[in-house]
């Protein structure tokens, strides 16, 4: 039975997916006509059965598309942005990847799109200049979505920046707010001896469709998409993840849906019960997003992620509606194959740092640990030179916020390891720094309770002085419950908080333990409430000794 038929009949595929789901569909308003809904809301009366009035945010989003600001950037830069109202400044500009930062008013952030985390030296050189121009205010952070975000820019920078980016084939489009975010893939795609499939062309094709004329422009909430290609492609924290899977001897992808982290709730993606051929991914992704755009909840923002829609409809009905949308998008769209959700991802992501042979004989990749993912202009320029001088001019960013120089001839790897930059970004970092991930922290974010990056760096360096660890320990630092640093994915998760110590309110962290991205994925759970930062090294030392096999250096001496 094809899924198209199922979509029509609504019958249960009987797969016994074992997922606890709401099977009785809840009434979901069709929000496709936002303008009409806005008018209803504005009138102050909601007729029986009519869509609920839009929130102020949804009204602002539906008033015009932020992409329409692109031709005005030059004018805004020259004339100043006095004419921009609060909504345009803080909401609509994010459609162009431009973020007003309340903590540093006037100094903006720009988030790029780097499909699959791939970037060329020529592209990175443009970004290095942009960061350099911002002087002491400039930096670039590698994000947990294999992306880069630049800090310290003035609005006057935007028009020339967008031109420069376009010249080298980069875009910032729809990288923020309620849009499909940067699409991630295997950071080693195409060079990975262990990969099942090269995710780069698939990720690129999905991005092209989503940013194309039929792509979504006003989602109810942000949406994360990822494509796995290797045994360690852990992607269940995405709203939509494609994991490599075999059906009747053919390699394709099983579809996982609904993963997300937030201050209220954290979920790993669940099987949709559908298997797709690689070439079907772009249009199917578009269908998922178009459906979500139309049917997602816009009334309660903290219940807007796609998992809530799946629960409201019931998994079977959700799948049927998505497949129907897929079929309606274009003639010749696939139908998918019912699938039990089994897949080939079986282990936690590798530590990408170090020198590793590529699948191309004679070549290797060199992974460098970027402490907390933060780059300055000098480091960016150095990476450009190294990628050109030793490799093919290509670099990759990993979800662990590290950088890879690829296509390095094996005989040149030793010379690369002698480069001065490696004193800052080692290829053989300690077992804690290697797997440390952090959100931006309170230097740039008003919600963060602590300076995550500098705190993490100081604490981890201290612990590596004190301890010997048998293997790396993935640790995720985040400044607030919004969980941008993904604390639930870490073997150790740390979340900024406040605590009282000696009668004073001090900066602290909550500690979470038990996160796993291996074959039995687990989210970390709260272990300890609010440990003052001054006590943190000692508390973590004990944890690492007792639970992670660490031994104390002074004890061994």
């Amino acid at each position: 039975m094809s899924l198209r038929a199922l979509a029509v009949s609504g019958s249960d595929p009987g797969l016994g997916l074992g997922v606890v789901l709401i099977t009785t569909p809840l009434p979901i308003p069709d929000m496709s006509d936002s303008a009409a809904a806005a008018v209803d809301g504005a009138a102050g009366a909601t007729p029986l059965g009519a869509p609920p009035p839009l929130t102020k945010l949804e009204l602002a989003k539906s008033s015009f598309c932020g992409l329409d600001l692109a031709p005005r950037l030059d004018e805004l830069g020259r004339m100043g942005w006095e004419s921009l109202d609060e909504a345009t400044l803080t909401i609509h500009l994010k459609w162009l990847g431009i973020f007003f930062r309340p903590v540093s008013p006037g100094r903006f952030m720009v988030r790029l799109r780097l499909p699959n985390g791939v970037i060329s030296a020529d592209q990175l050189e443009v970004l290095a200049e942009v960061v350099d121009r911002c002087g002491e205010h400039g930096s670039a952070d590698i994000t947990t979505r294999q992306n880069l975000q630049l800090r310290g820019l003035l609005l006057e920078d935007m028009a020339p920046l967008m031109e420069s980016l376009e010249r080298v084939g980069l875009t910032t489009r729809q990288s923020g707010h309620d849009n499909p975010r940067n699409i991630t893939g295997n950071p080693l795609a195409g060079i990975d001896p262990d990969e099942f499939v090269d995710t780069r062309p698939l990720v690129g094709a999905i991005q092209n469709v989503l940013l194309g004329p039929d792509g979504p422009r006003n989602l109810p909430r942000k949406f994360n998409v990822a494509v796995g290609g290797a045994p360690d492609s852990f992607l269940l924290h995405n709203d939509l993840a494609y994991l490599p899977a075999v059906w009747k001897g053919e390699l394709g992808f099983t579809v996982m849906v609904g993963g997300f982290f937030s201050a209220q709730r954290n979920e790993l993606a669940i099987p949709l019960g559908l298997w797709l051929r690689p070439e079907e991914l772009p249009q199917f992704t578009l269908a998922v997003l178009r459906h979500y755009e139309r049917r997602g909840d816009r009334t309660t923002r903290n219940r807007s992620r796609v998992m809530y829609l799946i629960e409201a409809l019931g998994l079977d009905a959700y799948r049927a509606e998505v497949v129907e949308t897929w079929g309606a998008l274009a003639a010749g769209a696939g139908e998918g194959v019912l699938h039990d959700g089994s897949h080939l991802v079986s282990r936690a992501p590798r530590d990408v740092c170090g020198v590793h042979p590529q699948k191309q004989p004679g070549l290797c990749w060199v992974g460098l640990n970027v402490p907390m993912g933060r780059l300055d202009s000098a480091a960016l320029y150095a990476l450009v030179d190294m990628a050109r001088g030793y490799g093919s001019g290509e670099l990759r960013f990993s979800e662990s916020q590290n950088v890879l120089i690829v296509d390095v001839p094996a005989q040149r790897a030793d010379a690369l390891l002698e480069e001065p930059l490696l004193r800052r970004f080692p290829s053989d970092p300690g077992p804690l720094l290697a797997e440390a991930v952090s959100c931006t922290g309170n230097h740039y974010c008003g919600l963060a309770q602590i300076s995550t990056k500098s705190t993490a760096l100081a604490v981890l360096q201290e612990l590596e002085q004190r301890l010997v660890l048998p293997e790396s320990v993935r640790n995720h630092w985040t400044g607030c419950p919004n969980a941008c640093g993904q604390p639930y994915m870490g073997q150790i998760g740390l979340m900024g908080a406040k605590a009282r110590k000696d009668g004073q309110m001090v900066e602290a962290v909550k500690i979470f333990l038990g996160g796993s991205m291996a074959d039995d994925p687990q989210l970390a759970v709260l272990h300890e409430k609010a440990v003052p930062l001054s006590d943190l090294p000692d508390v973590l030392e004990t944890l690492l000794v007792e639970r992670f096999g660490a031994s104390r250096r002074n004890a061994s001496a």
């Binding site: 006095e82 979920e267 008003g446």
Partner: protein
């Protein structure tokens, strides 16, 4: 669970993770009273959801919150300010800023979170406080926080204050923050004054300050010109390197040098040499084109901006008719910026005056010998040139054989108003000697001056 394909089972997770903080999804589920007295203390498990609920209150009545902060009932913690900040109006921001002046130790990030509000009352408060040092603002660190906020207000009338603070000697931290204020309001300030301020600061002894000035200068319209001029001065090494990096990122447009040329479009070698050196200095293409060239103008690569430079010395028919026609044709291919003819450039007139002065003998200045032109515009131009250079402008005789009489005139030498080798310069050479009759581009000072002027073009 076994997979029918013999593969590892799928991950079947519906709710693995904790939901550490239950948050009311709507006011209907949990009535919410935005009372400051009910705000859970920092560190309390309920504080975060409470603040999220507060954030959803729109519009929020601010008065109780301002009052609670002012009387010390609640601390102005960053998480609370982050929630309040996007609902603050000018008056509320002023009250919180005043509170911070009295208690700057309470939260160093308060001014930034509050000062994002762009409002006349906030700008007035900041300007008044910073103009006279501000009561309670003697601490340079406190002042340093506020100067950028004043710039963020982007009020043109505050430029002199920011300019003075950045330029005048004082604590480094304060000068740097005043410059940051200038950077944050960049397009709001009067351009000429801003440009000269930044040029001054770029030579400052503090490399951080100088570097930031270079960065700001690079963002101004037509930034190549001041940057190149600045690069010719003595700068601290790191600042000079920074300036070169900024210059590399400012793409120079293609220049099309339009010259008269000779028969069949032949262009004298002086122009080729000039173009080649100019191309090397600018790092961008420099094309040469003769008016006499009968072939069509090659198209410009799509989207590349082009600057058309008419290298003509007099406002004759070529300047008035041919150049506009060529510009119109070029604009069909893409954006074209047309500069005035060379003779109109004030630098060029000054350079000619200098050349004339150099050639004076016993206070007898050489005369400028030019091609025949007519019309009121030409007359006015030549009169202007005579005033600027102090040299008489003489029209070439119809018959070049009469040049001998001019050359033999004891009232002074002759300088041919011809950029490249021409019939005029060639006719004068036997009479005056090669050096004296040299076309203008063969004269090192004029050539270098022209190169420098063309180099700094956008």
């Amino acid at each position: 669970m076994a997979s029918p394909l013999g593969l590892r089972p799928a991950v079947m997770v519906s709710s693995l993770g904790p939901s550490p903080i239950p948050v009311p999804s709507s006011a209907a589920e949990l009535p919410f009273e935005p009372d400051p007295a009910a705000l859970p203390a920092p560190g309390h498990a309920e504080r975060w959801p409470w603040l999220l609920a507060l954030r959803r209150q729109r519009p929020l009545v601010l008065e109780p919150w301002l009052r609670a902060i002012e009387i010390g009932q609640i601390e102005p913690e960053s998480d609370l300010l982050a929630v309040l900040s996007d609902q603050l109006d000018g008056d509320a921001a002023v009250r919180l800023l005043r509170f911070w002046w009295q208690h700057p130790q309470q939260n160093p990030s308060l001014p930034n979170l509050v000062g994002r509000v762009r409002d006349r009352a906030v700008a007035d408060l900041l300007a008044a406080a910073l103009a006279d040092g501000g009561e309670g603002l003697e601490d340079p660190a406190c002042q340093a926080v506020l100067w950028p906020l004043l710039g963020h207000q982007r009020r043109a009338s505050d430029f002199p204050l920011l300019q003075r603070r950045a330029l005048q000697p004082g604590p480094r931290q304060v000068r740097q923050s005043a410059l940051e204020g200038l950077s944050l309001g960049l397009s709001a300030w009067p351009l000429p004054a801003l440009r000269s301020t930044l040029i001054s600061l770029a030579s400052d002894l503090d490399p951080l300050l100088a570097g930031a000035a270079v960065d700001a200068l690079a963002r101004l319209p037509d930034a190549r010109s001041p940057l190149i001029l600045l690069s010719r001065s003595s700068l601290e090494a790191s600042v000079a390197e920074r300036l070169q990096r900024r210059l590399r990122a400012l793409p120079a447009s293609t220049l099309l040098l339009l010259v008269h040329g000779r028969a069949e479009g032949f262009i004298p070698p002086e122009f080729h040499s000039l173009a080649a050196e100019l191309e090397q200095r600018r790092g961008a293409p420099v094309r040469l084109r003769a008016l006499t060239d009968p072939s069509p103008i090659p198209p410009q690569p799509l989207g590349d901006p082009l600057s058309l430079i008419p290298l003509f010395l007099l406002p004759g028919g070529h300047v008035r008719h041919d150049v506009p026609a060529i510009a119109t044709a070029l604009r069909r291919q893409g954006p074209v910026r047309v500069l005035p003819f060379l003779g109109a450039w004030s630098f060029w007139q000054r350079a000619l005056a200098s050349e004339v002065a150099q050639g004076a003998v016993d206070s007898c200045r050489p005369r400028l010998l030019h091609h025949p032109i007519a019309g009121p515009l030409a007359v006015r131009y030549l009169a202007h040139l005579e005033r600027v250079t102090g040299a008489a402008c003489i029209q070439t005789p119809e018959a070049y054989v009469d040049l001998a009489a001019l050359a033999g005139d004891q009232r002074g030498g002759l300088i041919p108003l011809s950029l490249g080798a021409s019939r005029l310069s060639e006719s004068l050479a036997p009479l005056l000697g090669e050096a004296a009759a040299a076309p203008l581009l063969a004269r090192p000072v004029l050539r270098e001056g022209l190169l420098q002027a063309l180099e700094v073009l956008p």
